[in-house]
């Protein structure tokens, strides 16, 4: 194995090594206390039958994992997660990118637009859920009243109580709340796009979609992948907005792995099984995050990106 040697004096090399250790210590401690220990705890919980109270729960081996794979409710919740991931990832990114492109060339009032679009993202998820819960109320809600005023009474329904629509109603709220993030990030990325290339492609006859696909997107690809990673991983672990708006109901219609894990752990006092379900979220989401991260790094090394 080849080793690299430094020509720097020994004292300097020691100082560099010490500095390196000092710089790494805070992150290492954070990793230990906020990632490794909780993960270790979760692994321990997943092999015991812990009810949240007993101090000496029985060891049950892989029984929680066996139960998880045989549990129909898990597959139902996973199906909802997949719907959430597909719609909840694609929509904010596509809508966010389109709005960012519209705002790209705007100088006047650009700050105001950004403020308006970003506002829902900074609102607490619980507040957003409660307010949209009112909007969706079957009797007094703004949505049904507006539909009634427009003569569309046939479309009125109890949005959050209708098993066919409830998940999409919550998803629409989440998209409303999350798109502002994509917009602001994409606007920032677009500022670094080489406009001379865009102008040149326009002169060469490239239309809008072609300019976006061949000129703009490659330049903002690392940022695009970063937004994709965050929304995708958020889709796996979605919890708060569903918990506030429907609690996973009616009768499991909007249950995702996150809400199901909470139910099992805290409503049914099955901390062990709930933790096993939470581990499933990690196992499913980490490979996606790693894959996109590697792609992002490769593109950066190739010199692409804003």
């Amino acid at each position: 194995m080849a080793s690299t040697t430094s020509n720097a004096p020994l004292v300097t090399r020691r100082a560099q090594r010490l500095l390196g250790i000092l710089l790494v210590i805070p992150v290492t401690l954070m990793m230990i206390f906020f990632f490794i220990l909780p993960l270790g705890n979760a692994l321990v919980y997943s092999v015991v039958d812990f009810d949240g109270i007993s101090s000496n729960p029985p060891f049950i081996g892989l029984a929680n994992f066996q139960e998880m794979f045989a549990d129909d409710a898990v597959w139902h919740a996973l199906k909802n997660n997949v719907i959430w991931i597909i719609i909840g990832t694609i929509t904010p990114i596509v809508v966010g990118l389109l709005i960012a492109l519209l705002l790209w060339g705007i100088e006047r009032g650009s700050l105001l637009y950004r403020l308006i679009f970003f506002m829902p993202f900074v609102l607490p998820g619980v507040a957003v859920g409660i307010v949209w819960g009112w909007i969706y109320d079957p009797l007094q809600g703004l949505l049904n009243q507006s539909l009634g005023a427009l003569g569309l009474d046939a479309l009125q329904r109890g949005w959050l109580g209708d098993p066919t629509w409830a998940l999409y109603a919550v998803l629409a709220t989440a998209i409303w709340g999350g798109t502002g993030f994509s917009i602001v990030i994409f606007i920032s990325a677009l500022r670094n796009v080489d406009t001379e290339l865009v102008d040149a492609s326009r002169i060469d006859g490239a239309n809008g979609p072609a300019r976006l696909w061949f000129i703009i997107l490659p330049q903002i690809m690392p940022v695009f992948l970063m937004v994709l990673t965050l929304t995708l991983v958020g889709g796996f672990s979605v919890f708060d907005i569903i918990f506030v708006m429907t609690g996973g109901g009616p009768a499991d219609a909007t249950e995702t792995i996150g809400t199901y894990a909470y139910d099992q752990a805290f409503q049914l006092s099955r901390i062990g099984y709930g933790t096993t379900l939470a581990l499933l979220i990690t196992v499913l989401s980490v490979p996606f995050a790693v894959l996109i991260n590697r792609l992002q790094r490769r593109l950066s090394l190739q010199g692409m990106g804003a």
Binding site: N41, D137, P138, G247, A251, A253
Partner: protein, 433 residues
């Protein structure tokens, strides 16, 4: 280099394992050291009351205690009722629990805490203070032969109805289920919601089944279900669920009940937009506040196919002392105040909260509705009335979960009474002595 790595790994492992299950429950330890001198502050944890007025009255009651407590003060902590279980269990497990707390008495609640040794045994305090709690109520807080709490809040579940809407439509108080269905159908034709029903939260499902089933099978029949003698997939359960299923199908309930929260459903009743409200006597005070000067309210049991039916009655909750409290003596003195005639009368008059011990109600200014509730619950106490049971405070967590989700399924067209009854039986666990 290996040794530090091994030490680090061992430290991480011990931290991981140590952080998982916390310390041993108090029952396995010696009694915690007690505060023996000076002013004592005890922390009292309760779930959020129905209204700010109720909370203000609770605080005023605590002031009464502090006025005569010789230096014991009470710090009141209020948490959302739906989060009580999670918060309380976490606090008790980490030895950061309240000294005194109000909590459900069911096997999955107070029973589970008592089993884990997290609740202080009050048997000696019962003997010392001679608390006059009704025997049937004491049974609900007795776990493994130990008296673990002070039962409170005698309550009944039935149907509040707007007497003015009934009179306007020429309807009288329903005498059986057919009467109720006929009245609801007639009210629906006038554009008023016959029965306001919330099932967004899910817990209401337990009350719906409790009242329909109690009226149909009576208290003895209910006890057979709760003890496991009769299976939960019995036709009586299917029929009781079918009553609600039929009302949903015939649009006699709030549109989309699973999209409507408890407060919103109650608001429909307060505003006169709904004629009936199936809920418990704990809401009587708020209903009277909201309907005052607008309409008269009656309170009846949910009718059975053959008659007027019976109320589902029982205990709402209990007050417990944490086993890890360092102020057990002061906590017991506080409990002694809660079962005093003075506070009993106060809680009836101001909180409309009926204690599980005899209270002299003479001279109490009670509205007709609350006078009726008082008279009814007195029959629970002296055993002269036939009362059904509120199922969810007597059954296990998995059963309650199946009940609330199953009834949500019925109320959203995803399930049917037979399937729900089968699920109840599958998840039912016979109570242990």
């Amino acid at each position: 280099m290996r040794k530090p790595a091994v030490v680090l790994a061992a430290s991480l492992l011990s931290l991981t394992l140590g952080g998982c299950f916390g310390g041993s429950p108090a029952a396995e330890q010696s009694a915690p050291p007690q505060a023996s001198s000076g002013p004592v502050e005890i922390r009292y944890l309760i779930g959020q009351p129905e209204s700010p007025e109720d909370l203000a009255n609770i605080k005023a009651g605590l002031k009464m205690f502090e006025a005569g407590s010789n230096g014991i003060t009470v710090k009141l902590d209020v948490v959302p009722a739906e989060n009580m279980k999670t918060i309380l269990q976490t606090q008790l497990r980490s030895n950061e629990g309240p000294d005194v707390f109000n909590y459900d008495t069911g096997p999955g609640f107070g029973g589970a805490l008592a089993k884990a040794g997290l609740i202080h045994d009050l048997t000696p305090a019962y003997a010392k203070y001679n608390w006059p709690i009704y025997d049937f109520a004491k049974q609900r807080v007795t776990f493994s032969g130990k008296l673990s709490g002070i039962p409170s809040q005698l309550e009944e579940i039935g149907v509040f109805y707007n007497k003015d809407i009934f009179a306007k439509n020429g309807l009288s108080e329903p005498q059986n289920l057919n009467d109720l269905m006929a009245a609801a159908t007639k009210i629906k034709e006038t554009g008023v919601i016959p029965m306001t029903l919330a099932d967004k939260e899910g817990w209401q499902g337990g009350h719906l089944l409790s009242m329909a089933l109690s009226s149909e099978v009576g208290s003895d029949g209910m006890m057979k279900f709760i003890s496991g003698e009769t299976p939960w997939n019995d036709p009586a359960v299917v029929n009781a669920l079918k009553v609600w299923s039929d009302m949903y199908e015939q649009k006699l309930l709030t549109p989309s009940p699973t999209a409507v929260g408890y407060d919103n459903a109650n608001a429909l009743f307060y505003s006169g937009k709904a004629a009936m409200n199936p809920t418990g006597s704990w809401l009587a005070q708020e209903i009277e506040r909201q309907s005052k000067g607008k309409f008269e309210v009656g309170f009846i049991p949910f009718p059975s196919t053959t008659g007027k039916g019976i109320f589902s009655g029982g205990l709402g909750s209990g007050t417990f002392v944490s086993a890890n409290s360092k102020k057990i003596d002061a906590s017991e003195k506080f409990l002694n105040f809660l079962v005093s005639p003075e506070y009993g009368k106060y809680s009836v008059e101001k909180l409309q909260d009926i204690p599980a011990f005899p209270v002299d109600t003479s001279g109490i200014k009670a509205t007709p509705l609350f006078t009726q509730v008082l008279a009814d619950t007195a029959k629970i106490a002296d055993g002269t009335g036939d009362f059904g049971y509120n199922i969810d405070v007597l059954t296990n967590d998995a059963f309650n979960n199946a009940m609330s989700k199953g009834i949500q399924g019925i109320m959203s067209g995803q399930s049917d009474p037979t399937k729900v009854a089968e699920s109840l039986q599958k998840n039912f666990k016979k109570p242990t002595a």
